[in-house]
């Protein structure tokens, strides 16, 4: 027992230290000061109220994207399409935000729900194809990402603007932006979305762990045949799992549309948030609480990294390498533990 506690404590420390040391070696070899580099990273993420605000703002969509991936994982599905579902969610939220003029109590929830519905719809297609025709969801979701990107761009150009590159700003009544949050964080882009993201985490936990439906969804993920034998409707559960996963992703898009940007512009490529969501989910062990923490890690690294070139003179490309190393080693702490437990079992 004592030795388990020891490894529980030691492995993550070891993993993080390895990541930091590996990053330091890369910086030293390239002729930069790692202490200056890491202090810039930390300052840029938590240095004062402004940076804390930016970090939380960046964490918000990561939490929801992580939840989306994790929900699918827990039910035995690989939703690689979170990126695309996020983009259509972003589009839907802005569309509702621009086209209607309603009181805030109706408008804002409507815009968020529209985003969830759009994401859900986008995930329904691969879910349906998987359930009905056994088409692998990875292939479909990847392709759906591209369809989402280009369809969204086309709609922005032709419907939401007059051949322009961005939509109009959403109405104030649909906005998540907050003068209050901005003022306490010295004009950061922090918005109320973080509350929605935290509620999302609770919803996912409750749904999976505390409801019969959640139990069914997980059961189908563990063993389809056993579930069918137990009288569960496997195809319907697969579709439902994808739809819920997509809804989380859609809401992640609403965070960008209603909170950070307040509009949507033509995208040359993917936002990357949906893909990072896969790593967020894995590092957070597909667990709602773990995902909040790993999203915070990603958000802090992403925002803090912007400070490294300006105050520590570390070039942008090198910053990307250092960040990747830290994430790599944090993720592999899971791997180290897995290996350790395997060895122990074999030893017995």
């Amino acid at each position: 027992m004592n030795s388990t506690r020891f490894t529980n404590f030691f492995v993550p420390v070891f993993a993080v230290l390895l990541g930091v040391i590996a990053g330091s070696i890369v910086m030293i070899v390239s002729g930069y000061n790692p202490i200056a580099g890491y202090s810039a990273l930390l300052y840029g993420a938590f240095g004062d109220s402004y940076y804390i605000g930016e970090t939380i703002r960046q964490t918000t969509p990561y939490i929801l994207a992580g939840l989306a991936v994790a929900f699918a994982f827990r039910t035995g599905l690989f939703n690689i399409g979170v990126e695309g579902q996020l983009i259509v969610g972003w589009l839907a939220s802005v569309w509702v935000g621009v086209s209607f003029d309603l009181p805030k109590v109706i408008h804002l929830p409507l815009a968020v729900l529209a985003a969830a519905a759009a994401g859900a719809l986008w995930a329904f297609i691969p879910g349906f194809l998987k359930a009905r025709f056994k088409v692998h969801e990875v292939i479909i979701t990847i392709m759906m990402n591209y369809i989402a990107l280009h369809v969204t761009n086309a709609i922005i150009r032709s419907v939401l603007s007059d051949k322009g590159f961005k939509s109009a700003k959403i109405h104030e009544s649909a906005s998540l932006q907050s003068e209050f949050l901005q003022s306490i964080t010295d004009y950061s882009t922090l918005h109320y979305g973080i509350i929605i993201a935290l509620i999302g985490a609770v919803v996912m936990w409750f749904l999976l762990e505390k409801t019969t439906k959640g139990y069914e969804l997980r059961a189908v993920g563990f063993n389809q045949h056993a579930s069918r034998y137990a009288g569960m409707n496997v195809p319907r559960n697969i579709i439902l799992a994808m739809v819920i996963s997509g809804a989380f992703a859609g809401v992640a898009g609403a965070m960008e549309g209603l909170g950070t940007f307040g509009n949507i512009s033509v995208k040359a490529g993917f936002t990357g948030v949906g893909f990072d969501g896969i790593a967020v989910a894995l590092i957070g062990s597909n667990n709602a609480f773990g995902i909040i923490l790993s999203a915070l890690l990603f958000g802090a690294l992403k925002v803090g990294a912007l400070e490294m070139p300006s105050s520590a003179d570390v070039p942008t490309e090198l910053v990307d390498i250092v960040i990747a190393l830290i994430i790599f080693f944090v993720a592999s702490s899971y791997l180290i533990r897995l290996l350790l437990s395997r060895f122990k079992k074999e030893g017995k």
Partner: protein
């Protein structure tokens, strides 16, 4: 148990960082410096995009060198944006580092600059390729129509088939300036020539550019001017393919934004050809340098829209002129003088172009 592990890992990342962080925060204090400092935020292109971000940074570097400044927080610096979520963060970062003048490079940064300029009314900003109506923002725009007119003159006098093509990126007012100026230039020197105009609908789709160029060259067009960013790379690749098939065929591309002569080089059987006839250069570096200089001298053009045209050397034809005949160059010079003196008013929209065309008859 799993979540405990992750929680622990995270708190350790943060703890390790805090320890390291204690070591070097001295330079962070926000005291006001005496010397003039200037910085810029790139869009996602970065300072090696071979286009306007790079050009802007070159201008800033030159300004720094001429004034004995160092790269960094006490001199001149840049921040690169990885995604459009970074624009506001990067601009704010520079504001907090007390830079005297902060540039946003490219029209994509319009929203971010507008918002931050409102929040920080004492901070001086400048934006390239867009107009922001705030007293603390200088808007830098270019008279792309004037430069396009000059390459239009080159095209009109060089074409042998009297058929010329124009490939635009997106059909927006900015690109209409290129189109109208170019068509006016062609018509002014060669009334018999026709210009076929096509828009690709995007600035980043080389395949579309190639397809459009292919049909244009097939229809007998011998010169194509593109104002389409990376989509235009497809025009170059199509022209080079055709040149490789038949080195004797005279087909040309006119480049945009910077001297695109290097893009047009083809090597066929040991001989080197270049399909780039000339390029319409847009001197973002000149404009960036100029605004920094004015601001340093206490004449920050806040709230104004600065237009860089031919007299300011803000636009013009590229320095590589090997493929242009001397008499054509002479004509370009004459027209340039006429535009500078105000004898010719170059159209900026299709409506103005129609009036211009009517005035020639």
């Amino acid at each position: 148990m799993k979540k405990k592990r992750v929680g622990l890992a995270l708190s350790l990342v943060l703890a390790a960082g805090t320890l390291l962080g204690g070591c070097g925060q001295a330079q962070k204090a926000g005291e006001k410096k005496d010397n003039f400092t200037v910085a810029m935020v790139t869009d996602v292109g970065g300072i090696d995009d071979k286009s306007f971000n790079q050009s802007a940074w070159e201008g800033l570097q030159k300004f720094g060198e001429d004034n004995g400044m160092k790269k960094g927080k006490d001199g001149y610096d840049y921040l690169q944006s990885q995604s459009d979520a970074d624009y506001a963060t990067n601009l704010n970062k520079l504001v907090r580092s007390n830079f005297d003048l902060i540039y946003g490079i490219g029209f994509l940064m319009t929203d971010a600059i507008t918002k931050i300029a409102e929040q920080k009314p004492k901070q001086k900003f400048a934006i390239v390729d867009s107009v922001v109506n705030k007293p603390n923002v200088a808007s830098i725009t270019f008279k792309e129509h004037e430069g396009s007119f000059l390459v239009g003159v080159v095209a009109g006098l060089t074409t042998k088939t009297n058929k010329i093509g124009f490939v635009g990126g997106m059909e927006i007012p900015l690109i209409e300036k290129f189109e109208s100026g170019f068509r006016a230039g062609v018509k002014a020197v060669n009334p018999k020539a026709t210009v076929e105009v096509q828009y690709a609908g995007a600035f980043d789709q080389a395949d579309k550019g190639k397809a459009i160029a292919s049909s244009m060259y097939a229809s007998g067009i011998d010169i194509v001017y593109h104002a389409a960013g990376a989509t235009g790379n497809g025009v170059f690749s199509e022209a080079k393919d055709l040149k490789t098939k038949d080195p004797n065929r005279e087909i040309w591309v006119i480049g945009v934004d910077k001297d695109q002569a290097p893009e047009g080089v083809v090597k066929i059987g040991g001989k080197t050809y270049n399909v780039t006839l000339t390029s319409m250069v847009k001197r973002v570096d000149v404009a960036v340098y100029d605004v920094a200089k004015k601001t340093k001298e206490g004449e920050f053009p806040g709230g104004k829209v600065l237009e860089y045209g031919l007299p300011e050397n803000g636009v013009g034809i590229a320095p590589t002129q090997d493929n242009i005949k001397p008499e054509v160059l002479q004509a370009v010079d004459e027209w340039k003088q006429k535009i500078i003196k105000g004898e010719v008013k170059v159209p900026t929209t299709r409506d103005e172009y129609k009036q211009f065309e009517a005035s020639l008859k």
